[in-house]
């Protein structure tokens, strides 16, 4: 009954009186107002912007060549010359950590884009048209769902391993491909159930009654109202993809040297964990911060889009 009381009050409270300013307030702009007040949102956005700039133009942060090994200074502790110290090969850890952002962000963003495009398309088709198409998509997602993302990644990457001469983009592309293949079903499922919730709404029926084409109905009525949960989950997924990429690289089957990546760095650091833990500390710290930033952003966006949390 408590819900009834809040609804009763809310319904009237929401009714505008004549003198109200004619400002455009959509759900998105309400969400934005909510986000603006959330400090977690600003912290995560600041971090994400920082990481993206780092990935795009690492030269802004350091002019040290990440591939310049100074073997005799290997395992040096943090000092004025090398802020984060040097690793076992004598590489500058600060430079390598900065340059390592590129792989993580690239893999995370690309994978998210691909999973969203495939997942949303399949989800909309299954949810809106239903019938055999729905059964087919559902069965396919079930199949992929049974295999965990990480396991799929390990299987694929060890079947088609990289070698020394593999080009950077090919290596990244392979990692993106395998994660996208195993990542889209969750988005598709989410989109499907979201579409199924939106579809029976009378405004969709009204558009049908007006003779609108299916494409028009999907584009202007179904998608805008069904996309919010996908946005939230894919933001969180971005963090997950970065972790999986690091894990694969850590296992030596994702990105491999000479590619610079946080996963590779963590893997390398393990050898000397006891004597020189700083080698492990910095790439792990950056990795954690990046993942945390995306997950926090996802949380903040979810709260903003969920009217019940208001």
């Amino acid at each position: 009954m408590t819900e009834a009381s809040t609804i009763a009050v809310g319904a009237e409270a929401g009714a505008p009186t004549g003198g109200q300013a004619d400002e455009g307030r959509s759900l998105a702009s309400d969400a934005w107002r909510q986000l603006k007040r959330n400090p977690i949102f600003w912290v995560s956005v600041t971090l994400i912007v920082l990481f993206i700039v780092m990935a795009a133009v690492p030269q802004l942060f350091t002019n040290v060549d990440p591939n310049a090994a100074v073997l005799k200074q290997a395992r040096e502790r943090p000092n004025a010359n090398a802020w984060f110290g040097r690793d076992i090969q004598g590489y500058d850890i600060y430079a390598r950590t900065i340059y390592g952002a590129r792989a993580s962000i690239l893999v995370g963003v690309l994978t998210t884009l691909v999973t969203v495009v495939i997942g949303v398309t399949m989800g909309v088709l299954a949810g809106y048209y239903g019938g055999w198409l729905d059964s087919l998509v559902s069965r396919i997602t079930d199949m992929f769902f049974a295999i965990p993302l990480l396991l799929g990644g390990i299987l694929f990457m060890s079947t088609f391993p990289n070698d020394e001469n593999s080009r950077y983009l090919v290596v990244v592309g392979k990692v993106v491909l395998v994660m996208a293949v195993f990542g889209w079903p969750s988005i598709a499922r989410l989109m499907r159930s979201s579409v199924l919730q939106v579809k029976p709404n009378d405004y969709v029926q009204a558009a049908r009654a007006l003779g609108a084409s299916p494409w028009r109905i999907i584009r202007s009525h179904v998608m805008p109202n069904a996309l919010a949960p996908v946005i939230v989950v894919s933001t969180i997924n971005l963090g997950v993809f970065i972790t999986v990429e690091a894990t694969l690289s850590f296992l030596g089957i994702g990105l491999t040297p000479p590619a610079v990546s946080w996963g590779v760095a963590i893997s390398d650091a393990l050898v000397a964990l006891r004597t020189t833990p700083h080698i492990l500390l910095f790439p792990s710290l950056f990795l954690s911060l990046a993942v945390l930033a995306f997950i926090m952003l996802g949380d903040a966006v979810r709260d903003a889009f969920d009217p019940k949390s208001r």
């Binding site: 009954m1 408590t2 009381s5 009763a8 009050v9 009237e12 409270a13 009714a15 009186t17 208001r310």
Partner: protein
């Protein structure tokens, strides 16, 4: 209190004695009740000073539209408002002379069921889907009366028969979804009357039901009320249902009672422009060629209730005084109370 007072008790209670004893049949008094909802967007003043009383065997209808505060009033009496966001800054709710609002929580909890109980609009969501209905009714006896399994179940069957559920014995183990809407509402009523309450609050009990089923449920409620001499508070927006069953009516608008009267008087000659407007705006089944005189405008936003009389922006009688002074509920004729500066004009015009 002692059991020697049983003679003045509302009726003979067999299983347990009640510690509450109405004086001269007076069960419930609500005095200057205020309820606010503190939300992120501001304070919504849901109830702004409500007074009424309820006697044994009496049916009081609280009539109002959504946002008028009628359901919040019911929830405040039951003590089931979520606080926060709800706040009760002021007021008393006295049951048999004792203020429920200042009572210790444990003592108050024990009034829910044996003294005051409630029937909700949505019977499906009020019943737990994973337990058989008989078990849910029997639970009342197990918790409040400490009965054992088989005795309590037997009482549940009797109650189900009392609310006219066909084949009650066989259906006591059935689950809520196996019943129709009307039957589920009967089960809710059975649960509400299980512990023989003195006050029954029915919050829109038939709004979700079809008209033929509505008639059955209202008939049942009236019958039970007469048989047990309960005080019945009927919360509704339906002027037809009220005309059929109520003794007294309180009309609510924007969290205040704007008119209070005997049911016959109120329908014959409303004393508040809002009541008058409502009666003129509803189509009647027994009239042909009727023109509906709609009330213009909208109910007010509870965060910004208009100055003066809350109804003034929609009122045909409104003058400058209505925009400045808020009229209080005053006696305008014997047994008639209205919160309107022009109550006499409304009454006579």
């Amino acid at each position: 209190m002692t059991t020697t007072e049983t003679t003045s008790r509302r009726r003979a209670k067999t299983a347990t004695g009640s510690e509450y004893h109405p004086q001269d049949g007076l069960l419930l008094e609500v005095e200057d009740l205020h309820v606010e909802f503190h939300t992120a967007d501001g304070i919504a003043k849901a109830i702004n000073g409500v007074d009424f009383s309820l006697n044994q065997g009496e049916t009081l209808a609280i009539l109002g539209e959504s946002g008028s505060g009628k359901s919040v009033t019911a929830q405040a009496i039951m003590g089931i408002l979520d606080m926060p966001p709800a706040v009760i800054p002021k007021g008393q709710i006295r049951y048999c002379g004792q203020d429920l609002l200042t009572m210790p929580a444990e003592q108050r909890r024990k009034t829910r069921g044996p003294e005051i109980s409630m029937v909700f609009q949505d019977a499906l969501s009020s019943l737990n889907p994973v337990f058989p209905v008989g078990w849910q009714i029997a639970e009342m006896f197990r918790i409040h009366r400490g009965m054992n399994r088989s005795d309590s179940l037997e009482r549940a069957v009797k109650l189900m028969q009392r609310v006219q559920i066909p084949a009650a014995k066989e259906r006591v183990k059935a689950y809520p979804h196996q019943f129709s809407g009307g039957m589920r509402q009967r089960i809710m009523i059975a649960m509400a009357i299980a512990l023989d309450p003195a006050v029954l609050i029915a919050d829109e009990p038939t709004t979700a039901l079809d008209v033929t089923v509505q008639a059955q449920i209202m008939a049942l409620l009236q019958e039970l009320q007469e048989e047990r001499q309960m005080g019945l508070i009927l919360i509704t927006h339906d002027l037809g249902v009220v005309a059929d069953v109520a003794d007294k009516i309180a009309v609510m608008y924007a969290g205040r009672i704007v008119e209070r009267a005997d049911v016959y008087d109120l329908y014959r000659q409303p004393a508040h422009p809002y009541t008058k407007g409502l009666l003129e705006s509803i189509p009647r089944l027994d009239q042909k060629g009727q023109q509906l005189a709609a009330i213009g405008g909208l109910p007010p936003n509870l965060m910004h209730i208009p100055q003066g009389c809350a109804f003034n922006p929609r009122c045909k009688f409104a003058q400058d005084v209505c925009r400045e002074d808020r009229p209080t509920l005053q006696l305008v004729a014997p047994g008639r109370e209205s919160a309107c500066h022009f109550a006499e004009e409304v009454l006579n015009g």
